[in-house]
């Protein structure tokens, strides 16, 4: 909320510095996001009187002797066409700062410091300034818009600072207004808070006017949709003369960033800023049927707004119609057909409350925003609605641009604009805060906030003005009390009355943290990726049309297509992360992520989807292999005190022969494998990439497994090395399974060598294992172990065609 100090001062006597006011506002909940002097970039510019002015031959320049009073007399060269002896102009002294302009002398291109110069051989000690160079527009000072020097009045004192003269010494407060205080979305609203916090009297805007007998015979307002328009008031103004607004009004509008248009339109804009009430003025001559009719638009109904755009409406939009046709898109913009023109001689003012949500939706759906719609979206109160119409009529009289007729319409749903009575318990207010605020302090604060307090025992009775819709309960009152009393009065306590609770992580959270730490211990770094991904990621993974991963939940209003689907796999984000790393020159590394996938039961969603955590690991680099990833899988199993088994499998994005399904107790928990080469090529990946994805929701059934202690064997273990010749197709897993099946005493099998080559047949390979036998009931003899080996070899031969290597 842009708030000029000079405008605030119209309603409150402010006797503190702008910085002090900023601090006061901050402490009571109004953060001043920016505070600056209007002329913050202008310095050392004073009134100068041109004593002599001589043309420099063959140029458009003049060389002038300028009297700057106490600052001295200077020779200044000037190229403006209106420089003349005897005139008074702003002089930027040497060392002054003013705006630099482009060649058009209009476009500001930053701030410049004035130095001594020489033009065509003539020394120049300063610069005579235009309005643009001082940041002053025509609306702020008459003549400032001229493309030449800004002419100062004859009575200006030579040497005086020009800033106060031009209003450049004013201050602008840009104040953040929280959503619960729409009543402060106006200069007057801010003034109410300033008055309260400075404990000053609030001066009311002048609402007086005199009605003439002029009327619109039979004029009638009807509202078909009171839910969208709880209040609609209108008043008739005759004898209108469209013209320019006075300087004071144009200046104020300019300070808040609004261009002056014409007196009647300026009044509506002025009131929007002053009181926070959007107003509209219709040219009465364009209204037919002596009526205003507020209704929902018909589907397909069209209106052309002031900005000459034709809009097609739906019944979600609201229109203001005369007796025949729509003349305004309610709350957003007036219709072109009823706009104020130079010829307008009679006006109908509208001041209405429209439902904020309706205006917001209309504005967004049609892509049409205005100061009015922005204001309605925040919510207006009927107190301001009623007040604003009176203020507009007063300003019509004050500006002398019309006469107030007697036709007045006010359609409402019975909401009172009178204060409401609110009763709260003082004890409850204090209990909420945890401190005891003295009653006289409470009364003082409530008085300052114009809440008219009275106390009877524990009961605080307030008379809450209609614009404070946010004050209803004792908690609301507690907030008002403490923000004015000061948060520094809150005394730190530590829940003296609360019961002791036992906190901490639950099993699932602890297990995930253990997993993360275990993965760090194998050199992996944790990454976090967005929960959404791109449809193109599904294509990257070569997923077929009917793949379950393609049944992803779509965001209705995504930021972009790349971030439009909820993840159904973490693999794509991991590939993208690795691609980014390689592009930045990281040619090896390990990354893991624990994140959710979102699997809908049906689309569109009618119930919560299956949202479940997954672990994804991505490793890349020349040192990595299928087996290093398998080692990471084993690390996960070890951390959870479980064991994994692996089966060959294939999917669309991994190497057909270097991919494993991971199982625990026969239940599938995920997969890992090497990224398929076509995908690696698509992504320009230059080193091997391996991916693993494990379903933590499935794994969570084993969370919390405690290590079980197995007593050390009473008898010594025996160990045998077996070198087997098997067909190349035979897997290590098969052999291990057969061995374990053949002998219950085997506690460990480790492969220590694989050989293919001259010493074995071409279609064979040799695999060498160390097998550990652990005795249970009694010690082994050499014969008993030999017997185990014999049985194992027999089974291996039978099941895998394995032979002992000779």
């Amino acid at each position: 909320m842009i708030t000029p100090l000079s405008w605030l001062k119209e309603y409150v006597d402010i006797d503190v510095t702008p910085q002090e006011l900023q601090d006061k506002l901050f402490s009571c909940g109004f953060e001043v996001e920016e505070l600056y002097e209007v002329g913050k970039d202008i310095s050392k510019v004073v009134v100068g009187k041109v004593l002599t002015c001589e043309a420099i031959p063959e140029t458009h320049l003049h060389v002038c002797q300028v009297d700057c009073g106490e600052h001295g007399q200077f020779q200044i060269c000037c190229g403006a066409d209106n420089v003349a002896a005897g005139g008074k102009f702003p002089v930027a002294l040497v060392g002054a700062t003013v705006y630099a302009t482009a060649k058009d002398h209009k476009t500001v291109e930053g701030v410049m410091t004035i130095g001594k110069g020489k033009l065509r051989g003539y020394e120049s000690h300063g610069m005579l300034c235009s309005g643009v160079e001082l940041g002053v527009s025509e609306n702020m000072y008459p003549g400032a818009g001229y493309n030449g020097l800004l002419v100062l009045p004859e009575d200006a004192q030579e040497g005086a600072d020009v800033k106060p003269m031009l209003g450049l010494d004013d201050w602008i407060f840009d104040i953040a207004i929280t959503a619960n205080r729409p009543d402060c979305q106006s200069i007057f609203g801010i003034a109410r808070e300033v008055a309260a916090v400075l404990e000053k009297e609030l001066k009311m805007p002048d609402l007086s006017y005199t009605e003439t007998d002029a009327e619109i015979p039979g004029f009638k307002v009807t509202v078909d949709c009171p839910d969208l328009c709880p209040r609609y008031s209108a008043h008739y103004v005759t004898d209108v003369t469209i013209g320019e607004s006075p300087l004071w009004m144009k200046r104020r509008l300019a300070l808040v960033g609004i261009d002056a248009i014409s007196n009647v339109v300026d009044i509506t804009n002025y009131i929007l800023k002053e009181l926070g009430q959007p107003m509209h003025a219709f040219d009465l001559s364009t209204l037919e049927g002596n009526a205003i009719h507020v209704r929902r638009a018909a589907n397909g109904e069209k209106i052309t707004t002031l900005d000459e755009q034709e809009l097609t409406l739906t019944d979600a939009n609201m229109v203001i119609c005369d007796g025949v046709k729509p003349v305004a898109l309610a709350g957003v913009m007036g219709g072109l057909n009823s706009e104020i023109r130079e010829t307008t001689s009679a006006v109908l003012f509208e001041s209405a409350k429209f439902a904020r949500d309706n205006i917001r939706r209309t504005s967004r759906a049609l892509g049409k925003r205005s100061d009015s719609s922005a204001r309605y979206e925040k919510g207006v109160d009927e107190y301001a609605t009623v007040m604003a119409l009176k203020r507009a009529l007063h300003l019509i009289e004050e500006l002398g641009c019309g006469k107030v007729g007697c036709t007045h319409a006010d359609v409402n749903t019975g909401n009172s604009v009178e204060p409401r009575e609110v009763k709260v318990s003082i004890e409850k207010v204090n209990n909420c805060l945890g401190i005891v605020v003295p009653n006289d302090e409470i009364v003082k604060i409530m008085k300052n906030l114009a809440l008219n307090p009275s106390i009877d025992g524990d009961v605080l009775t307030l008379s809450v003005p209609a614009y404070r819709e946010d004050i209803v309960t004792y908690q609301d009152v507690a907030e008002e009390v403490i923000r004015m009393y000061g948060y520094e009065h809150v005394v730190p306590a530590f829940m003296p009355s609360a019961q002791v609770t036992i906190g901490g992580l639950n099993l699932e959270q602890k297990s995930e943290l253990r997993l993360k730490n275990a993965l760090c211990s194998v050199g992996a770094y944790e990454g976090i990726h967005y929960s959404f991904f791109s449809p193109s990621d599904l294509d990257l993974l070569r997923l077929p049309e009917d793949a379950p991963e393609r049944k992803a939940i779509r965001i209705m209003n995504p930021i972009s297509e790349e971030l439009s689907l909820m993840r159904t796999t973490l693999a794509a984000s991991m590939i993208n992360a690795i691609v980014r790393n390689q592009k930045k020159g990281n040619m090896e590394g390990r990354i893991f992520e624990i994140g959710n996938v979102f699997l809908p039961y049906e689309l569109p969603l009618t119930r919560y989807p299956d949202e479940k955590a997954r672990l994804c690991v991505g490793i890349f680099g020349e040192k990595e292999s299928f087996y290093t990833m398998k080692g990471i899988a084993e690390k996960v199993a070890e951390t959870l005190q479980i064991s994994f088994t692996y089966e060959a499998m294939s999917n669309t994005f991994l190497h057909p022969y270097q991919t494993a399904r991971v199982l625990c107790e026969g239940i599938e928990v995920g997969y890992f494998g090497k990224l398929a080469y076509d995908i690696a090529d698509d992504c320009d990946l230059r080193v091997p990439v391996y991916l693993m994805e494990l379903d933590l929701k499935v794994l969570s059934k084993w969370y919390g497994k405690k290590p079980v202690f197995t007593p050390l064997p009473k008898f010594p273990e025996e160990q045998r090395d077996l070198a087997l010749v098997v067909s190349k197709e035979t897997t290590c897993g098969e052999i291990e399974a057969v061995m374990k099946e053949a002998c219950k005493y085997i506690t460990k099998i480790s492969l220590f060598d694989i050989y293919e080559g001259e010493q074995v047949a071409a279609d064979k390979k040799s695999m060498a294992f160390t097998v550990v036998f652990t005795p249970k009931e009694e010690a082994f003899t050499t014969e008993s172990v030999d017997a185990f080996v014999k049985k194992i070899l027999k089974q291996l031969n039978k099941n895998c065609g394995a032979e002992l290597r000779s």
Partner: protein
Amino acid sequence: MNAALEQIKQEILSGAEEIKSSKEAYEFRKKFLDGKTGKIGLLMREMKNIPPEQRADYGKGVNELKEWAMGIISELDTKMKAKELQERYEAEKIDISLPPQGSEQGNLHPITLIRNQLIDIFAGMGFEIYEGTEIETDYYNFTALNTPQDHPARDMQDTFYLSPEFLLRTQTSAGQIHVMENKKPPIKILSPGKVFRSDDDATHSPMFTQMEGLVVDKGITLCDLQGMLDVFVKKIYGENTKTRLRPSYFPFTEPSVEVDCSCFECGGKGCKLCKGTGWIEILGAGVVNNKVLENCGIDPNEYSGFAFGIGIERTAMLKYGINNIKLLFESDLRVLKQLND
């Protein structure tokens, strides 16, 4: 006889100078001191051939020689071993500036680090950790939190919708309601999680992480909020950190506050980090709005509570001096490797 001892003595003295290694020292010892074959040993064996009246003198002379020889040779041995150890070390001199080998230790994401740190602090105060779902309903994310359909506060948050009913939660506060619906006071929960808003620039990411805290019990007041925040802020930013409450607005708390802490960079004097104010905004909080308690079937006449919400990324960025929030979600190893805390 003395001549024989003297000769051995001389032999040892001259022989010792020739010894170059501990192995030679060992052989040298054997040569003289071995019980069976050593020269001094042999002298002892001669005892039986010595006339009895001379035996005492003879024995004394040989023993003295033996002890003297043991001393000399042990010293020699020690010297050689020390010399050899030194040579061995010298032979193994390496370039200690060569790159390290062996398995690399990874680290947790800065968001997880901060999250764990906060969890530790609050778990110690009796908070349970509750993680809600990222996909929520409009009811739990807004309506139950006193933000009905046309409430102005909805404009504060640009929401991603998945259907008219389902959305990506914009705040972890959504989890509050689930907890309060299912658990009666005393309630102390901490709810960390990903939240989503349609915002995308250097300081805003469409996904970020919040941690919501909620306490509901008998007699909870604004003072308890201040007290708990003081403890929390000192633990995370240091003993001398101060907190400041100032009025703000959230639909689900009343009164609502923004909490600033004294700048941990400059200690409150004013610097670039705190933009000269001496204070840094760290979280939003407030007394739980009675309407929220009522929505969850908790009687506000009996119970009251406070809630607070911390932005984890902001905390991480402040703590580690990270300048762009996007860096946290790109898994750039050059970034992740630096943030080992």
